[in-house]
Symmetry: C2
Subunit: 425 residues, 2 copies
């Protein structure tokens, strides 16, 4: 089939009629399918069930720096957990803070800490008037939620296939001292699955911000989350910032939420000693310490980085066919129509689809009416506003595989319907 835009209206209307019939058939089935959230599926959760046996009444609860993991103490986590996360992130364990069950919560607390205490000798962010954050788009809605909650103005920066457009980032960051930070998902970005190129990471590390208290929020959520045998590689940001004397510019985050259990994993942050000292000023009042038994459970289960990587192969075995199905169906049904574009990621949790401008909301609505829930159109942009109304995030991990196939078929139909509607308006 040729591109829709090259077809005459009569042909398009015939095509629309055929698609409408298929759509109506699906609609009549009263389906309830969900491709909205990046949640692991039940099969993936089962992989980690044996971790629940890590601890028993006979366990030894003493670790190298904790007399009893069942009791209070160890504000920044137990040494063995720090080492495991240090190995995952490629940093020294003295730069690791192991927290609770949510890296999002650690990012929230980090922003709150900057708001209340500030950093690099500057005033707290909440005493500096209007401040801003750069937001590579499309991006992760919950990042934008955190910055929005704290009243920080968000500025869109377009993503390229190599990461955020660094010309724009460099220009803005070096010229505007009210820009205090940027959100990054540097590997298998949410939603596009893009891994920042070496040059992008080097340019990040070499930034010369106008604001001394500028911070990169390096959310490495998918750091070891490959889904095929051609995984991306990401340069280690901490190695690079050291070369530029910019150690204090980065907070890195990761968690086991998508390694073991999303509701019951362990999260960690990596940062310079200066930055950790600031975070601890706040954490010291916030809590006595996080769940060390859950840290110990993870450490005993995985033993070391090799254990984690072997475990990730099991996730990959489940996820690879799902992602293949999604991108194969996009290829088969939408390729060449000029109705949508997408890229096939090598890891992460999403497939990002850019439909023809002005059609995303309509696609999401059509899908919803046929019983397929997608992430809301606009959710991948600050303030929920996609200026082109184009980006849609597909999350292939959660639904059972037979539901996923059906949902994708409906999605492709809806994309075609919406684009033809627009062309024949």
């Amino acid at each position: 089939m040729p591109e829709y835009s090259s077809m005459d209206k009569t042909t398009l209307k015939e095509e629309y009629k055929k698609l409408s019939d298929a759509y109506a058939q699906y609609k009549s089935q009263g389906l309830s399918l969900n491709m909205a959230r990046g949640k692991p599926g039940a099969e993936q959760l089962n992989i980690s069930n044996d971790m629940l046996l890590s601890l028993s009444p006979e366990s030894i609860f003493k670790t190298s720096d904790c007399p009893d993991c069942r009791n209070y103490g160890n504000l920044d986590g137990i040494d063995e957990a720090k080492q495991l996360f240090a190995d995952i992130m490629g940093v020294d364990k003295k730069n690791v803070f192991v927290g609770g069950n949510s890296s999002l919560n650690m990012m929230f607390d980090t922003i709150a800490c900057m708001m209340e205490l500030g950093c690099s000798g500057e005033k707290p962010w909440n005493q500096q008037g209007k401040i801003k954050f750069l937001c590579p788009v499309p991006g992760y809605d919950r990042h934008f939620g955190v910055t929005g909650y704290f009243g920080i103005e968000m500025i869109n920066v377009p993503m390229t296939e190599n990461g955020p457009d660094m010309d724009i980032v460099e220009e803005l960051v070096s010229s505007d001292a009210s820009i205090k930070g940027i959100w990054c998902v540097p590997k298998y970005s949410n939603p596009q699955g893009i891994t920042y190129s070496d040059e992008t990471v080097k340019r990040f590390a070499a930034l010369k911000p106008a604001a001394k208290d500028f911070r990169i929020m390096w959310d490495n959520a998918y750091i070891i989350h490959d889904i095929n045998d051609t995984p991306d590689t990401l340069l280690n940001i901490f190695d690079e910032v050291k070369k530029n004397g910019n150690e204090d510019m980065v907070f890195e985050f990761c968690s086991t939420s998508k390694i073991t259990f999303p509701g019951a994993g362990v999260a960690a942050a990596a940062a310079s000693e200066n930055n950790l000292a600031i975070l601890k000023k706040r954490y010291n009042f916030q809590t006595i310490g996080y769940d060390k038994l859950n840290m110990l459970r993870h450490v005993l289960y995985f033993k070391n980085l090799d254990g984690v990587l072997t475990h990730m192969q099991k996730h990959r075995a489940i996820l690879e066919p799902r992602f293949n199905m999604v991108t194969d169906m996009l290829e088969k049904q939408l390729s060449g129509l000029g109705a949508a574009s997408w890229a096939k990621p090598n890891g992460g949790y999403f497939v990002s689809v850019d439909v023809a401008e002005g059609c995303a909301k309509r696609v999401v609505q059509l899908c919803k009416e046929a019983g397929v829930i997608l992430t809301g159109a606009g959710a991948t942009y600050p303030y929920g506003k996609d200026p082109k109304d184009s980006n849609i995030r597909l999350a292939p991990t959660y639904p059972p595989v037979e539901e996923l196939e059906k949902a994708m078929d409906i999605f492709c139909i809806c994309v075609k319907l919406a684009v033809i509607e627009k062309l024949t308006k």
Copy 2:
């Protein structure tokens, strides 16, 4: 022996010489004993070890309102955990938010939420200029830490045997709209072990604050933590505030930190629907949800409130002889000397000792030099400043029982030494 103050200096100096010899003997032993923090001892932690077997790969992870506790979701906890905490606190489960492993963290987040969002239609606390909190003294150092962190001015309110001096509380709260809250540990208060009388609770519930956004932080940390067969009873604050139309005035907190594991328990808050709605405005950005597997672990282990109460009897069996030893030794060694006063608590985690004015720091220092660590003098007061330098908090739970006896003997010697030093100066 008569009161020290009625003895002549020569007799006192003889007494001092004898005590110094005993002190020197202890000092020469190079001891390392600790009565500083309210941590459960190892024997207590063992009680809950079987809870680690609650979950296994064969467990059912679906609960009444959660399709899979291993996955994301349920911001305010699972229904079964809400019900358990509702039964512990005597409230409706719709008024319960189940959080992470730390009630301190929930209190911190609650104050942060009031600072950032405000309540009862008033401006956020951080936009109201100087605000204040009432702090019954002696009290819990970490409460004061939280208010201090947020720059809230703290005003001491003296404790009586029935709770905070309510004449002062009523007068201040009704006349000063900059007073936004009060910290309360209403049952077995930290450190005195005082339970607020019915009249005190009723007067709290009937407060008519000048500030519409005044909040009582009701930290019910020791709600079921009796240590003998004459436990105190506390009126249910939520029943009382309802009678006065004051439902929005209270946040209640509790946790299983001193029921199961201090590092790996579950914390919860109870509040009116209005207040929960405000908290959720913040939590919704802060996290996707807390550790539901740990909630499930607790629910499966305890089954219901009866299960929890039976469990608490095991703690009591361990704690009662320790507390008896501490108060018996105080009685035997310090009674009648006019050197110190104390009360025997029916529950909680501490014995509070008021030594003669101006002697607390010296006692703590003498103890330290003999290898006995106590909570720092002044820690039970805002800003670490005990105006009378008199209060010392003893924590009898953590050290092994034979160490506790030795530590208490040293403590009593140090009290006597410090008081005689003052009288003979």
